[in-house]
Symmetry: C2
Subunit: 285 residues, 2 copies
C-alpha cells in the first residue's frame, strides 16, 4: 500500500515557516504584500482568490484583492497592473486565470514586472527557469510545491523517468523544466499523445494535470511509482476527485497524493512562501 | 533502407530563398547585418565563424567578425555587445560558444538585445518559445533547421513520440519546446538517464545531440523511426562521424540524416535566414 503524501501537513509546515519569516521581516519594517487581480465572477475563481486572500492575512502578509467586472477592458487591467508594478507596498502580483475572452493572457502576463511575477508566467522568468539560470526568480507555484513534496518525501529524481500528463503553462511546462533541471528524464504528454498508457507505465514519477476525473487507472501505473495528482474535479454528486483512480492506484504505487489534501494546499502555501521570497529579493537582493 | 535526409540540398534551397529576400530588402535600402563575436582561438570555433562570415557575404548579408583574445575580460565583451545592440546596421548578434572560462555565458546571452538575439539564447526569447507565444522571436538555429527538415520531408509530429538525447541550451532544450508546440509527445534524456535504449526504442522521431561517436546503435532505434543526428565528431583517422551508427541504423530507419551533410548545413542556412528575419521584423515589425 502506497505512502499517502500529506500535502495538508506539509503545507502547514511551510506556512509556519512563512509566518516566522514575515514576522522577522516586519521587524525590519518590511511587510510582504500580494495583490490578486480578479476579472469576472467565475465561482471557482472567487473561492480561490478569497482563500488566497484569507491565508495571506493569516500569515501576516498584506493582501489586496482587486475585482473587475467580467466585461473589463484589457486597457483597464493593464493600467491596474501598471499601478501595482509601481506600488512599493506590493511584492507579488497574481492575475487569476481563466480571464474573460476579451483579455489576452499573453499580454497580461508579459505586463507584470518580472520581479513581482509570483505566478512565474512572465516569459523572462519562464526562460530563466528553462535555461536553469542561477539567481533568484519566481517559478509557478503548483510545480514548485510539487518539487517540495518530492524532496520532503525523499523521492530520488536523478536519471529517473518522470512523465507529466498535461502541458499547461501553469503546471506541465514549468514542472518539465524543474524536473529536467533536477536531472530526471522527463516526458511531457498532452491530450494528443498516441498510446498514453505505454508512456505512463514507464514512469518512475507520474504527474497528472489534465482535469479528467480518474483518467489514470491502476494498470496505467508502474508498480512502485510515485504518483502526483494535480487534478481537482467536482463530480455531479459533489465529491472532489483527482485525475487518478486513487483507491486502486494506491494499492500498487509507492507513494501518492490524495485529492483533496495533496497538491492543492501546497499550491497556496507555495504562493505565500514565494510572496515572501519576492519581498526579500526585492529589498535585500 | 532509409531515406537519406539531404541537409545539404535543403540548405541550398533555403540559401537561395534567403539570397532573394536579401536582394528585395536591398531595393528598400535595407541590408541585413550580422555580427559574430569570437573570443579566443579555438580552432573549431575559428572554422565555424569563418564559414558563417563567408556564407553571409555570399548571400549579400553584411557581416562583421569581432575577434578578441582568449584573455578578454567580461567587461570588454559586454561593451562590444552594447555597441552592437546600438548599431543600427546590425540586425543579428552571435557570440560564438564555448567562451573562455572567465566569461559567464548567462551574462553574455542576457546582454544581447532580444530583437538581435539570432541564437535565441536570451531568456526572454527562450521563455516566449517555451510558452508558445504568438508573434515574431528568434529561435536557436539548429533546432529551427531540424524542424524545417522534418517539415520538408513530411514527417508527422502530432501525437508522435519524439525522444531527444542531449539537453543543451542550443539544441535539446529549444527543440523540446518546438516539438512540444507541434503537439508531439517529447522526452528529453541526458547523460544521467537510466536505461537509455528503452527510451530511444520507443521513439518515432529520435534526435541525438551528445557528441559521443556512434552512441546510438541499430538495436537502440525502433524500425521505421526518423533519426536526426546532430553530432559532429572527428575520429583520430580524421573522419567526421555523428552520434548515430549511420551505416547500420539506416538499414531499418525510415529516414536519417547523414554526418556530414545533414544538420550542419541546415544550421548555417537557418542562421542566415533568421538574420534576414530579424532585419525584416526590426524594420517592418
Amino acid at each position: 500500500m502506497a505512502t499517502i503524501i500529506d500535502g495538508k501537513a506539509l503545507a502547514k509546515k511551510v506556512n509556519a515557516q512563512t509566518q516566522e519569516r514575515v514576522a522577522k521581516l516586519k521587524k525590519q519594517n518590511i511587510t510582504p504584500g500580494i495583490a490578486v487581480v480578479l476579472a469576472g465572477d467565475d465561482p471557482a475563481s472567487l473561492i480561490y482568490t478569497r482563500n488566497k486572500h484569507k491565508k495571506a492575512i493569516k500569515l501576516g502578509i498584506n493582501s489586496i484583492l482587486k475585482k473587475f467586472p467580467a466585461d473589463v477592458s484589457q486597457e483597464e487591467l493593464l493600467a491596474e497592473i501598471d499601478r501595482l508594478n509601481n506600488d512599493d507596498s506590493i511584492d507579488a502580483i497574481l492575475v487569476q486565470q481563466p480571464l474573460p475572452a476579451q483579455i489576452d493572457p499573453e499580454t497580461i502576463t508579459s505586463a507584470i514586472l518580472p520581479e513581482k511575477d509570483v505566478d512565474g508566467l512572465n516569459p523572462l522568468n519562464l526562460g530563466k527557469l528553462y535555461a536553469n539560470q542561477r539567481g533568484n526568480y519566481p517559478v509557478a507555484c503548483t510545480p514548485r510545491g510539487i518539487m517540495r513534496m518530492l524532496t520532503e518525501y525523499g523521492v530520488d529524481l536523478e536519471g529517473q523517468n518522470a512523465v507529466i500528463v498535461g502541458r499547461s503553462i501553469l503546471v506541465g511546462k514549468p514542472l518539465l523544466a524543474l524536473l529536467n533541471n533536477a536531472n530526471a528524464t522527463v516526458t511531457m504528454a498532452g491530450s494528443k499523445a498516441v498510446n498514453l498508457p505505454s508512456l505512463t507505465q514507464n514512469a518512475d514519477i507520474l504527474i497528472v494535470a489534465t482535469g479528467t476525473p480518474s483518467l489514470i487507472k491502476q494498470t496505467d501505473v508502474k508498480p512502485g511509482a510515485v504518483v502526483i495528482d494535480v487534478g481537482i474535479n467536482r463530480l455531479s454528486n459533489g465529491k472532489l476527485v483527482g485525475d487518478v483512480d486513487f483507491e486502486n492506484v494506491k494499492k500498487s504505487a509507492k507513494a501518492i497524493t490524495p485529492v483533496p489534501g495533496g497538491v492543492g494546499p501546497m499550491t497556496i502555501a507555495t504562493l505565500m512562501e514565494q510572496t515572501v521570497d519576492l519581498a526579500q529579493w526585492r529589498h535585500h537582493g
